[in-house]
C-alpha cells in the first residue's frame, strides 16, 4: 500500500515546497493524538519532500542537466516522460516514519511526484503508477501554466487519485483499463 502521495516543487537554489500531499489513512495508536498528530504528519511529508528534492538535484547534476529546468512555452504542449529522471530510496525507521518506508519519485520539468510506500511494495508498479499520475495531474491541474492552480484545486487531484490510487491501493491496469479510467474522468490524454 502507498502511505502518502506528495507533489512538490524541488526548487534548486530555492527551498523545496510541498504543493499537494495526500496521506491514505492514519495508523492507529502510532503516536500523539490531536493537533500534534496533524503537525507530525505535515512535518513527515516535508521531510520526504526535502529528501526527494535533494535526490532529484543530485541526479540532475550527475546527468549533466541544469537543476532548475525551464517550463515549456505552451502550457498545453504534451510532456514527454521518456527521459524524466526518477529514482527510489529508503528512509530508515524513525526518520521520519515509525516504520521503514520506500520512496519512489519522478521529476517532470520543475516538479516532482513521490509515492511513500510500505516496505516490500511492488516498486515496478509504483513507477508505473507515478508515470500515469504525473501527466494526468499536469493536465487537469494545469500545472505548467502560470499561477498556483494546484493549491486551489484539491478536488481535481483527489479525483485522479481516487481512480488511479484509491485509498493508496495501486492498481494493475493495462492500457485498455487505463483508457476506461480516462473516459470516466473525462480526460483526454495524448498517447
Amino acid at each position: 500500500m502507498v502511505r502518502a502521495f506528495v507533489l512538490l516543487a524541488p526548487g534548486g537554489p530555492a527551498p523545496c515546497r510541498v504543493l499537494y500531499a495526500r496521506t491514505f489513512g492514519t495508523p492507529p495508536g502510532a503516536g500523539p493524538g490531536g493537533p500534534r498528530q496533524r503537525l507530525r504528519r505535515k512535518e513527515q511529508l516535508l521531510v520526504v519532500a526535502r529528501q526527494v528534492a535533494s535526490q532529484c538535484q543530485l541526479l540532475q547534476a550527475s546527468l549533466g542537466r541544469p537543476s532548475s529546468p525551464q517550463l515549456p512555452q505552451l502550457p498545453d504542449e504534451p510532456v514527454s516522460l521518456q527521459d524524466a529522471p526518477g529514482g527510489v530510496f529508503q528512509m530508515s525507521p524513525g526518520d521520519p516514519f515509525p516504520e521503514r518506508v520506500t520512496v519512489v519519485w519522478l521529476s517532470v520539468l520543475a516538479l516532482a511526484f513521490a509515492l511513500v510506500c510500505e516496505p516490500q511494495e511492488n516498486l515496478s508498479l509504483a513507477e508505473i503508477t507515478l508515470r500515469r499520475l504525473a501527466p494526468r495531474l499536469l493536465l487537469s491541474l494545469r500545472l505548467l501554466g502560470p499561477g498556483a492552480d494546484v493549491l486551489l484545486r484539491p478536488d481535481a487531484a483527489d479525483g485522479l487519485l481516487d481512480r488511479l490510487l484509491p485509498h493508496g491501493q495501486m492498481l494493475f491496469l493495462n492500457e485498455r483499463f487505463l483508457q476506461a479510467v480516462d473516459r470516466e474522468l473525462g480526460l483526454k490524454v495524448s498517447r
Binding site: 492514519t26 493524538g33 496533524r38 535526490q55 486551489l152 484539491p154 478536488d155
Partner: protein, 763 residues
C-alpha cells in the same frame, strides 16, 4: 450551491492545508461540512471538497460522521477516507465492518463493489486485526470467485442513445491477450477488452490487493498479532469444496501461473510491456507467500519458475523479475531438492555488470542482498565473492544507495576480503569513471572500436579502454568477482589516465561517499582483525596514501579518516610500531608527507611517541628509539628553520606540536637524548619570533607552540617524572586510560609546579 460554493470551499481547504499549525474551525461549521458531505443532493465536487477539508483537519474532535447509513458505494469510499484519517482503531474497525457488510449483501441497483475493495485494503493495512474470522472467510470466498470467474467476454459500451447503438443485438466479443490472440483461459489483469464489465473490474481490484490479503489472512502465524489462528482440521481433498482460505490460495496460485504465461507474450501496446513485468514480479512474490503458507505448492512453483527463468534470463528488460524468482528459490529450493546455483550465479555474476546503471534495479538488488544477508556469511559462496560487482551499483548510484551500503558493508567484510575491499573503497571513484568509459565504449559503432593504435599512446580515455597498455587494468577494476591474487602491480597509470574525469558530477558524488564507508570499514575490521591483518592494513594505508585518485576534497577527507584510524590501529596493536619500523621510518622521514598528508603524518608521529617503548614491546631497543628520534628530529629541524626558503614546506602548527611532544617522549625513554631535545625546544622561542615565520603562522598558533615547547622542556628537567608521565603502564583498565587522556592536564600541572610565578619563561 454553485461555483461560489466550490470556490469558497477550495479557498477554505487552502487556508487549512497551508499551515502545519492547527486552525480552528467552528464546531457547527464542521458539523455542516459533514452533513453536506453525506447528503445525496450535494454535487460530487462539493462532496470531494468537504471530505478533503475534513481529512486535512484530522484528527477531528467534532466528527459525527458514520458510514452505517450510507448506501452509495462511492460516497461510502469518500466518507471512509475521512474516518480512516482519524487514527482511531475503533473507527478503522467500524469502517471494516461496514465494508464487509457491503460486500456480503447484494448491493442496490447501480452500485458497484469496485469502490469498496480499496477501502478494505486500507483497513487491513492500518489495523490488521479489524476483521473477524467469519468476515475474512466471506471476503476470501468472494476474492476467489472474482479472481477465477470473471466474465471472459468483453463488456458493452455505455449506451449513448441514438440510432446506431443497439446493444441487445450485438454479440459481445471475447477478451484477448495483450498480443492480440483470443484468450483461451480465464480473465486476468493482462486481459484486453474495449470495455470492461463490473466483475472484470473486481478481478483487477482483487488481484491488486491479493498480496497484502494473503500476508494478513492467508495462513497461520502470519502478520496478524491480534488474531490467533487455529490450524484447519481438514486437509484439502480433490473434488471436495475447499474451505475459504485454502480455496483462495488455490485460485490465487492458478491466477499467478496464468500471469507467468501471459507475461512473456509480446504486447501490441508498448506500455503494456511495463505492466507485464510488474505483474510477473507480483505473481512470483505471491507464489512465494503461498508456498510459505502451504508447502504442497512448492513443487509446482519451482518447476513453473525454472521454465520462466530460462525464458527470461537473457532479456535485460526482465532483469528485475529475476530477484523475486531467486528469492523464492532461496526460500524453498531445499525442500524441492533443486539445484538453483545456476540461477544465483547468473544473478550475481552477470546482472550487476550489465545493469548497474539502472537505478531501480540497483536499489532492488541491494535490498535483496540486505534481506538475505545471511548468505554472505559463507565466505566461499558466490554471493560473497561477487562483492566487486555489488560495488558497481554504489559507484554509479551513490546518493541513492549510500545508506543501503552502510548497512550492507559489514556483511561483506571478513579477514579474507578486508584488504581487497580496502583497495576497492579507495578506488571507488575510479570505478565510477571506468564504468562511464565502459558504457561509452559499448555505445560506439564497431568500426571505431578497433581504431586505437596499439603501438602509440592512447589519446583519450575511450581509446585507452581497449589499448593493451591499459586493458588489463580496466579489466581488473571492472572485475565481477573477488580476485586478490590478480591485482595488477599498480593501477597508478590508470588513475592518472582517469584524471580527466575526476571533475564529473557522478564521480564527485561517489567520492563523497568514500569517507563514510572507510570509517565504517575500520570500525568493523577492528572487531575481528588479528595482528597480521592489522599490520597489513597499516602498510597498505601508508602505501595507498600516495596512490589516490586526484580529487582534492576527496584526498583531504580520506587522509583525515586514514589518519585517525591509523592511530586506532596502532592503539589496538602497539607492537606494530616496532614490527613495521622500516615502513614507518620511511614515511615519517619524508618531509613532503608532512605537508601533503598532514593528517596521516601527525597521527603517525603521535603513535610513534605513544607506543615506541619497551613497555609495549620487549623488542624495542635503544637503537630503535634513537633511529626514530633522529628521523623525526631531522623533519622537525627542516620545518622550523628560522629563515624558511621557498622549498621549505609550510605545515600545520599541530604537526609541529606533535613532533615536539613525540621527540620529548622518546627522550624520556632514552635519556641520552634529553640534552638534544632540550636544546631544540629552547630554540623554539626564536623560531616563533622570527619575522619570516610570523608572516606564515597566526599569533595564536605560534603562542600555542611556544607554550607547548616550554611545558615539554620543563618536564624534561625532571627526567624521572617525565618518564612516568610519558610511559605509563599499558592502559588495560579504564582508569589508566583516563590517566593517558589527561596528559595535557598533567603537563600543565607539572609546569605550574616548576614555575610558581606565572609568566616567567626561561630564555
Amino acid at each position: 450551491a454553485g461555483p461560489e460554493a466550490v470556490d469558497g470551499l477550495q479557498r477554505l481547504h487552502l487556508s487549512v492545508a497551508a499551515t502545519k499549525y492547527p486552525r480552528k474551525l467552528d464546531g457547527k461549521f464542521v458539523e455542516q461540512l459533514q452533513t453536506v458531505l453525506c447528503s445525496p443532493k450535494s454535487p460530487e465536487q462539493i462532496q470531494v471538497l468537504c471530505a478533503a477539508i475534513l481529512r486535512e483537519m484530522s484528527p477531528c474532535n467534532d466528527l459525527v460522521l458514520s458510514c452505517d447509513e450510507i448506501q452509495d458505494t462511492k460516497l461510502l469510499s469518500l466518507v471512509s477516507s475521512v474516518l480512516l484519517a482519524q487514527g482511531s482503531r475503533g473507527e478503522v474497525a467500524a469502517v471494516g465492518q461496514r465494508v464487509v457488510q457491503g460486500l456480503e449483501r447484494r448491493l442496490p441497483e447501480g452500485q458497484s463493489a469496485r469502490f469498496l475493495l480499496p477501502v478494505l485494503a486500507n483497513v487491513i493495512s492500518l489495523s490488521p486485526g479489524s476483521l473477524t474470522e467469519e468476515q475474512t472467510n466471506v471476503v476470501s470466498k468472494k476474492l476467489a470467485d472474482w479472481l477465477r470467474y470473471a466474465s471472459i467476454q468483453q463488456g458493452m459500451a455505455q449506451p449513448s442513445g441514438g440510432f446506431f447503438s443497439s446493444p441487445r443485438t450485438k454479440q459481445p466479443a471475447p477478451i484477448t491477450e495483450v498480443d492480440g490472440a483470443v484468450a483461451t483461459d480465464f480473465f486476468t489483469v493482462l486481459s484486453v477488452a474495449q470495455h470492461y464489465t463490473q466483475d472484470q473490474w473486481l478481478n483487477v481490484q482483487a488481484f491488486s490487493m491479493l498480496r497484502n490479503w494473503l500476508l494478513c489472512y492467508g495462513g497461520p502465524g502470519t502478520s496478524c498479532p491480534e488474531k490467533l489462528w487455529l490450524p484447519h482440521p481438514w486437509k484439502s481433498t480433490p473434488g471436495r469444496l475447499l474451505p475459504p482460505r485454502e480455496r483462495l490460495r488455490d485460485k490465487a496460485f492458478a491466477y499467478c501461473q496464468r500471469l507467468v504465461e501471459q507475461s512473456t507474450r509480446r504486447p501490441l501496446k508498448k506500455e503494456d510491456g511495463d505492466l507485464q513485468k510488474a505483474c510477473l514480479i507480483e505473481a512470483v512474490t505471491i507464489m512465494d507467500i503461498i508456498c510459505k503458507q502451504d508447502s504442497s505448492y512448492v513443487c509446482r512453483a519451482v518447476s513453473c519458475l525454472k521454465i520462466l527463468h530460462s525464458r527470461i534470463c537473457g532479456d535485460a528488460t526482465y532483469a528485475r523479475a529475476l530477484l523475486p524468482i531467486a528469492q523464492l528459490f532461496l526460500n524453498h529450493s531445499k525442500q524441492a531438492a533443486v539445484d538453483s546455483d545456476a540461477i544465483y550465479k547468473h544473478l550475481f555474476s552477470d546482472i550487476p555488470a550489465l545493469l548497474f546503471h539502472n537505478p531501480s534495479l540497483a536499489f532492488e538488488f541491494v535490498q535483496f542482498c540486505k534481506d538475505n544477508s545471511q548468505l554472505f556469511t559463507d565466505s566461499s559462496s558466490i554471493f560473497r565473492q561477487s562483492f566487486p560487482n555489488l560495488f558497481k551499483f554504489l559507484a554509479w548510484n551513490s546518493p541513492a544507495l549510500i545508506s543501503e551500503f552502510v548497512d550492507l558493508l559489514p556483511f561483506l567484510l571478513d579477514p579474507g576480503t578486508a584488504t581487497e575491499i580496502f583497495h576497492l573503497l579507495l578506488d571507488l571513484p575510479c570505478l565510477t569513471a571506468a564504468l562511464d568509459i565502459q558504457l561509452r565504449a559499448a555505445a560506439l559503432p564497431v568500426s571505431e572500436k578497433a581504431g586505437a593504435d596499439p603501438a602509440g599512446k592512447p589519446a583519450t580515455c575511450l581509446e585507452a579502454f581497449h589499448h593493451p597498455l591499459y586493458r588489463s587494468m580496466f579489466q581488473y577494476l571492472l572485475r565481477s568477482r573477488a580476485a586478490p591474487e590478480d591485482a595488477p602491480d599498480s593501477l597508478v597509470p590508470l588513475r592518472q589516465l582517469l584524471g580527466s574525469l575526476a571533475g564529473s558530477p557522478r564521480v564527485v558524488q561517489c567520492a563523497e561517499t568514500v569517507p563514510v564507508l572507510l570509517e565504517l570499514f575500520f570500525r568493523v575490521v577492528a572487531e575481528f582483525a588479528d595482528g597480521s591483518l592489522i599490520n597489513q592494513l597499516v602498510v597498505l594505508l601508508l602505501q595507498r596514501s600516495d596512490q589516490l585518485y586526484d580529487i582534492p576534497a576527496f584526498k583531504e577527507d580520506v587522509y583525515r579518516v586514514l589518519g585517525s584510524n591509523l592511530a586506532m590501529l596502532c592503539g589496538l596493536r602497539p607492537a606494530l610500531v616496532v614490527e613495521l619500523s622500516t615502513e614507518i621510518l620511511e614515511f615519517s622521514g619524508a618531509v613532503s608527507n608532512i605537508q601533503s598528508k598532514e593528517a596521516i603524518f601527525t597521527h603517525m608521529a603521535w603513535a610513534v611517541g605513544e607506543f615506541l617503548s619497551v613497555s609495549h614491546d620487549k623488542r624495542c631497543t635503544v637503537e630503535q628509539i634513537t633511529r626514530f628520534f633522529e628521523t623525526l628530529e631531522a623533519v622537525l629541524f627542516e620545518i622550523t628553520q628560522l629563515r624558511p626558503q621557498a622549498s621549505t614546506p609550510s605545515c600545520a602548527p599541530r604537526a609541529i606540536s606533535v613532533l615536539m611532544a613525540t621527540l620529548t617522549k622518546l627522550a624520556a625513554r632514552s635519556q641520552d637524548l634529553i640534552p638534544r631535545v632540550s636544546m631544540f625546544l629552547s630554540k623554539m622561542r626564536t623560531f616563533v619570533q622570527s619575522p619570516a615565520v610570523t608572516s606564515v603562522y597566526c599569533e595564536e598558533d605560534l603562542e600555542e607552540i611556544l607554550i607547548r615547547a616550554t611545558e615539554l622542556m620543563n618536564l624534561l628537567k625532571m627526567p624521572s617524572v617525565a618518564q612516568f608521565v610519558f610511559t605509563p603502564p599499558v592502559a588495560s583498565t579504564r582508569f589508566q586510560k583516563e590517566v593517558n587522556d589527561s596528559l595535557p592536564l598533567a603537563l600543565r600541572m607539572v609546569t605550574q609546579l616548576l614555575e610558581p610565578a606565572a609568566g616567567s619563561m626561561p630564555v
